[in-house]
Amino acid sequence: MIYSSYEEKKSEKTLWFRREKQPKEKIKNKKLQIPEGIWVRCKGCKEIIYKKEIERNYDLCPKCDYHFYINAKKRLSLLYDEGKYTAFDENMLATDPLKFRDRKKYKDRLKEYASITGLKDAILSTEGAIANKQVVICAMEFKFMGGSMASVVGEKIVRAIEKCIAGNIPFITVSCSGGARMQEGIFSLMQMAKTSGAIGKLNEAGIPFISILTDPTTGGVSASFAMLGDIIFSEPRALIGFAGERVIEQTIGQQLPPGFQRAEFLLEHGMIDMIVDRRKMRDTLITLLNFFDKSPQNTPLPQNQK
């Protein structure tokens, strides 16, 4: 409005020495024409950083160590020996038990996310070795419907646990999830009991379970297997909690303090064992696996030896 009235005024008495200015928008467009994906603004320190530099650095900000999101595949390759692992239960597909439809059909959403992530659901079950010790790792993929847990995720976790029990293999999860998936309704809720029950079987068999929490781990995932680890650790600054920030703010009618529900907050309140930098994650796992190792060198002294 202001601009147009200025234009009108100008046309009423155009001054001979005033050159017609180019509209400002064109200059704006020029600025936007910088190819995307080369520079990234760090969410931690707000610096603009060359993307390749981040990628070379475990997807951490080189200035402030802010942990950028990485996908499940990349995560796994950082943990396993030489980045090598085999995936299993890869073909499992979600059905649509409720015939759910919001603004889009659930089935269409599933297809859409499958094409974005190259996965069939929000989790990858894998086996491989870490420092030559066999492990099973289930890594959740946040880009697949917010890493939400429904029938397939639950079933894959339970099968991975069954594999661990059968082969006496340590079990590791990397959680990255908003919680239970609404589109499968009550079935999603039941996965919380299903996975927690399986963790019970794992404990009974005396097999260690290491739960790694990454940004974010909330809702039905944090309120089930993710919080049941023998060892629980998290990446720095990861959002971990039960209720979402907005829900809490609406309920209590005030803004939340900074750092609320972040990994550091959970550590302070005794909810997790430690916070581990992404660069140290593999080393930490090696140390832990060494501790839990069941080989003869690591067993306690025989009872009869006095």
Partner: protein, 319 residues
């Protein structure tokens, strides 16, 4: 009695009928006839409405302020109830109650969400939304029951676990996870009854059981219709529609084999005939308890595990 929006039509009719009632003695036969006609119409309308409730209407009934709550059922069905308090760690959460009682002369452990009547009690009971200490109290009582071989009966009626700052500080997620985990392996029979709202994780934290019963107009869902509408439709007014999409009614849950039995309510909802619903619930509890008490505990535990192990629908094409 509080009135839901779809019940307003009866109120208008009731007023008309009551006015007629006074007139009937003054004005002879034709008014009397009209009175009978109205009364018939009212009964028909009432029955028609309650026989064809929409999922949203059931949701409203499940949250009805006059609906019987856990303590109402406990006082009607059980004897010698002694309420026990506190989690021995932090506080006593009034949103969850529990204690010892007798059913047909046998000791049982009762645990349940408790909503409040009226604003004042609702504030102290936090509208039935438990904090971690509530779940930890429940777990303490379950462990107590386990040590003395008493079956556990839980009543579920909560909008959900409380989303507050203190709740997060004290580990709401861990408290829920721990309860689910422990209930899976608790070495006594567990029966759960959804008497009102079964709100997500807060409900499941008392709801892992050998037998799950539900009242006819109760609901059980992964998320409230309002919250789901706000997230997926970006419009919380779509809640009535979403209630249908979530399949949260007792009938849907029974179809999906989540619940074992639907306890039929008197027409118009449990609050319209409390004696009747309490009587029916008592009979259902006794029947199920008798059955599962006969199952050896190891077998019961493996059945319980298998029940939850089997939940979920997926396909696995081989290539």
């Amino acid at each position: 009695m509080a009135t839901l929006d779809f019940e307003k039509q009866f109120i208008e009719l009731d007023v008309a009928i009551r006015e007629m009632q006074n007139l009937a003695y003054e004005w002879g036969d034709n008014v009397r006839q009209e009175y009978r006609r109205l009364k018939k119409k009212r009964t028909k309308m009432f029955n028609d409405t309650y026989n064809k409730l929409t999922p949203w209407q059931r949701t409203q009934l499940a949250r009805h302020p006059d609906r019987p709550y856990t303590l109402d059922y406990i006082s009607q069905i059980f004897s010698d109830f002694i309420e026990l308090h506190g989690d021995r760690k932090f506080a006593d959460d009034a949103a969850i109650i529990g204690g010892l009682a007798k059913l047909n002369g046998r000791g049982v452990m009762l645990i349940g969400h408790q909503k409040g009547r009226g604003t004042k009690e609702n504030i102290s009971r936090n509208f039935g939304m438990a904090n971690p200490e509530g779940f930890r109290k429940a777990l303490r009582l379950m462990k107590l029951a386990e040590r003395f071989h008493k079956p556990v009966i839980t009543f579920i009626d909560t909008p959900g676990a409380y989303p507050g700052i203190g709740a997060e500080e004290r580990g709401q997620a861990e408290a829920i996870a721990r309860n689910i985990y422990e209930m899976m392996v608790l070495r006594v029979p567990i029966i759960s009854i959804i008497v009102g709202e079964g709100g997500s994780g807060g409900a499941l934290a008392l709801g892992v059981s050998d037998r799950l019963l539900i009242l006819e107009h109760s609901i059980y869902s992964v998320i409230s219709p309002e919250a789901c509408a706000a997230i997926l439709w970006k419009d919380h007014t779509k809640a009535p529609e979403v209630a249908g999409a979530l399949r949260l009614t007792a009938q849907d849950l029974s179809k999906h084999k989540i619940v074992d039995e639907i306890v039929k309510e008197p027409i118009g909802g449990a609050h319209r005939n409390f004696d009747m619903i309490a009587h029916k619930m008592r009979r259902a509890i006794v029947r199920h308890l008798q059955k599962i008490s006969l199952i050896p505990i190891e077998k019961l535990l493996s059945q319980r595990y298998q029940r939850y192990r089997d939940y979920g629908e997926y396909q696995e094409p081989t290539d």
